[in-house]
Amino acid sequence: MSHVQIIDVEKSFQGKQVLKQINLQVEKGEFVTLLGPSGCGKTTLLRIIAGLERSDAGTVRINGRDAEDGAKRKEHNIGMVFQSYALFPNLTAYENIAFGLKVKKVAPEVIKEQVAAIMETLSIAGKEHNYPHQMSGGQQQRVALARALVTKPDVLLLDEPLSAVDAKVRENARILIRDIQRKMGITTIFVTHDQLEALVMSDRIVVMNNGEIMQVGTPEQIYHKPQNKFVANFIGTYNFIPGSLVGMGEATVCLRPEHIRLVKRSELAGTPALGTVSLLGRVENVYILGNTVRTEIAAGGCNLLIDRLNGYQGSEFGVGEEVGLLIEREACNVLAD
């Protein structure tokens, strides 16, 4: 039996259906991310799991027991980190973290021990007597995380906790959350609209759009084998080309930018290898994306994006130059819709 079971959950707000027949199983210790654009229903689903919202239909079970009712929340011990952190402004970091334990009437010495331990793990030891407004965004986030984790919850829910933080801190925070989650083995459900985050952190990703689940899979599966146009478009960048261009029939075909090879025009002579298609194109634009270079090329009536690792000698191809493209048919995916 899965640790968290979401069965036929539906929810509408003011006539608009926000969740349509959602079914999902999460295993114990798994890190699952609900990924999708704003308004897809991911936060609503999370809040229903948390017991903060009631679904219109369907059930949510944690450990086999119904988790819908807020009143039953005490039995389930769910830890939650909010997007705004929701730290209690009138309490110090220590008091914030200890709050859940205090409510459970845990002995003060035990509280002291456990709070110290979690603060150590999250590198915020020493900030016990600071109030939230005296801490940086990154520290507040770690206090919020500590507060949710110290009660050793059955399930950890995170609602876009990294969206308010700057890029560098975000990178470190992702690794931190993932490591702690693995160490403590807590079943975790994470909500984000950032697909890179989802790819880096998750065991499985649930891609959602408009209240429906578009695809569930591991990061590799989602990335390499998108099952529909939405998922293909949402995760990373994809080139959509007519199948006829690569000899794969009439349907649209999608192709990752890093799977197209660029060669000098002069190298294009002769028949390409079996299963490879060669095209002639012209460079329209070149972008530097950090450690990749993205080249925009007009070829075969389409605008294609090609990503390559940034060589230390700079970009080989300039705007306006004519280049050759080599595409392996195997790298192309035919899409359902």
């Binding site: 402004p89 859940g100 409510v103």
Partner: protein, 269 residues
Amino acid sequence: MKKGILPKIILVLIFAYLFFPIAATILFSVATRWSTTILPEGYTLAYYQKLFTNPEFLHALLRTVYVSTVTIALSVVLIVPSLYLAIVYYPKLEKFFEFLSILPFAMPGVILAIGLIQMYSRGPLRISGTSWILIGSYFVLILPYVYQATKNSFRTINVKALTEAALMLGCGKLETFFKVIFPNIVRGVVSAALISVSVLFGEFVLANLLVGDNYETLQIYLYKLQKADGHISNALVAAYFLVILLLSLLMIWLTFRKEKLGAKTNAES
């Protein structure tokens, strides 16, 4: 942008203009006689002494304090929890409260008073002429101020998220309100109370029409005093002005103190 001396001069002139009547009032209250000369003929504190030892004044003051305190206490006890419930659990109610809170502004004092006298002079609730009708109508009078101040406090602390965080940590709904929410809105509530005090201490129309001499509040006493003795009534006005000034300064200090509460999150580590 030239930062000349002109704006400063204009500011000083405006303040002088505004303060002039008050200055004259204060001066008159410490003058022995001041009818034909530019400045008073002599100075004395006798009028203040007469005022503060007069039992009628002290009783009037006490009545005002009593009515204000009861009204404000009632307001806070009723409005704060109701608004909390509306914002966190029943959002549709919030719109209703919003409507209620601007309703008092639609009623001019005199019309309100006449309607109230009619309603409460007969029937089951014969409170016309007593302090209770005054408390009731004062409650309605300060409703907008208490509502607005409380709503702003709740907004500042993001009350819904805080409540949900506490609930997720296992805190009960009641415990959450008293342990988590209330400590964070005390300042806003105190601010509302202080505004209410200054509004209620200065309220004359309803007091005069609804209870008049039956329950002589400070403002009614002042009204009577003005006809009797100019010096003493000015002393009262001067003293009253001083109290309200102090109250306002207290409110400003409370509101703009270095934020310990509220949603400020940017500080260096």
